[in-house]
Amino acid sequence: MTFFLIVTLNGLTLAALYFLAASGFTLIFGLMRTVNMAHGALLLLGGYVGFEVAKTTGFWPLGILGGGLAAAFAGALIQFGILGRFQGDELRQTLASIALSIIMADLMLWYWGGITYQVALPDALAGGFKLPLLGVGYASIRLVLIIFAVVVGITLWLVIAKTRLGAIIRAGVDDREMLRALGFDVAKIFIIVFALGGLLAGMAGVVAASALSIAPGTDLQFLLSSLVVVIVGGMGSVGGAALGALLIGLAEQYGLAYAPTYGVVFTFAIMVFVLAVRPQGLLGRSET
């Protein structure tokens, strides 16, 4: 029983990370139909910058903020300078973003090298604490990560559901062309959303570098997980990203714990099942 609960907690931790990474990805896809294959690179960039900021200032939250902002800026720059030029040409955008992800990965390898980085945690989070009832220790940072993901999720939901910007984003998801015909500069909104997606990816990168660690390859790992999460949850739906992350995170950990040989199969079995039964994703809406 204790083992099961610990595995569940690990699954939730992973799900929280997956959600942070996938929420920005799904937001960008939902509005722009852009499959941003550089999303993982933005996450890794955020992680590295967050590491540097946290090391220099010695203040962990500042690292999260710095990593998030750096990736937000890079995301806005990518949309403004490159992907925005191919708006409406999704295949070209996707290919360009693959090229970008390779270039960014190589530049980061050049600057930060091939070693593994872990962000130093503040003392309050560095240790573990005893879980009530179970009587076993658990890393504090992992619980902080879960709380962080929940807070980010709720904030994102509030922004999208309650603000004018959120209404414009939703309108753009529904009918981008009509939004333009009503006088909205969609190109500008796209840049804002790309920055928002980058912010989420960057923060996810710093959090990943704190709870786990980051190294070359982390970018592709999270890109893949984001793709799977978003396919399962439904493209363009933040709630779907949360649900997809939960399913995939838990499935991965249960698989690892109870059927290590076939662990990775569970993830893709879920994906195949969803694609067969509900191709638009669990909370996605089919194209009309």
Binding site: R164, A167, R170, A171, V173, D174, R180, L182, V186
Partner: protein, 245 residues
């Protein structure tokens, strides 16, 4: 004439792939109401989309209110004062009525949310409902309202009475007439010939991607022969728009 028309279209060409949809449309729209008639598939909706910049054009020019908008973006055209009420209404399904209007709100605009709610009481009652929870008539009111909140000089309506109950059709017509008397330019694309006759001072007829006639409504109303030739209908035969589809 002398003064420049509000909207001036010259030799407008549009291709969809290999099919040639608009074959050199020439059309002026001024601060009155113009009904655009024609059978299905003659290019009326394409013309509206081309005016808004939503389809690529392959030749010709469009001028609006002293600006050459031939290669302007849709958002620029909207901000210059072209309000677009598209076919099928295209309200945003995941926005509430109120969000639709709040999104369009600008300082100093003649059309405020309050004015919209005064004009369309039904929308006020349904302000918390999402776009896809509205009836066709309510969606139409909303589609017109959000276009009006741009304070347009020209309102382009593409089949606003399509699929609406007769009572709602006459509401839409009354509104169009009122806007026209307030000095707004109106271009009203219609399948429903009676709606166009009731709402528009002049009518243009589109056949195979060309404007073949432009004449005062009263003249076309009296010319059964012309109606038959271009619109292929016996007057009085149509009771509902289904007959035309």
């Amino acid at each position: 004439m002398g003064i420049e028309p509000l909207l001036s279209i010259r030799d407008l060409q549009v291709h969809y792939g290999t099919s040639h949809v608009l074959h050199g449309v020439n059309l002026d729209v001024d601060q009155t109401s113009l009904g655009m008639l024609g059978r299905n598939g003659m290019g009326k909706t394409t013309l509206c989309a081309a005016i808004m910049g939503l389809v690529p054009i392959s030749g010709g020019s469009i001028h609006f209110d002293g600006h050459d908008i031939t290669s302007s973006t849709p958002e620029k055209r909207a901000r210059l004062g072209i309000g677009y009420v598209p076919q099928g209404r295209r309200v945003f399904r995941s926005l509430t009525v109120e969000e639709h209007l709040r999104m369009m709100q600008r300082k100093g605009s003649e059309w405020t949310i309050e004015r919209v709610f005064d004009t369309f009481v039904r929308l006020k009652e349904r302000r918390r409902n999402l776009g896809d929870q509205l009836s066709g008539g309510e969606q139409q009111m909303l589609a017109i309202s959000r276009a009006l909140m741009l304070d347009p000089k020209l309102l382009v309506l593409d089949e606003p009475t399509e699929g609406l109950a007769p009572a709602i059709v006459s509401d839409v017509i009354d509104l169009v007439v009122r806007l026209s008397t307030e000095g707004m330019g109106i271009m009203l694309v219609e399948q429903n010939i009676h709606a166009a006759f009731a709402a528009a001072q002049n009518v243009a007829i589109m056949v195979n991607g060309l404007i073949v006639e432009k004449l005062p409504t009263a003249v076309l109303e009296g010319d059964i022969e012309l109606q038959k030739r271009h619109l292929g209908i016996e007057p009085g035969q149509i009771t509902a728009e289904e007959d035309l589809v």
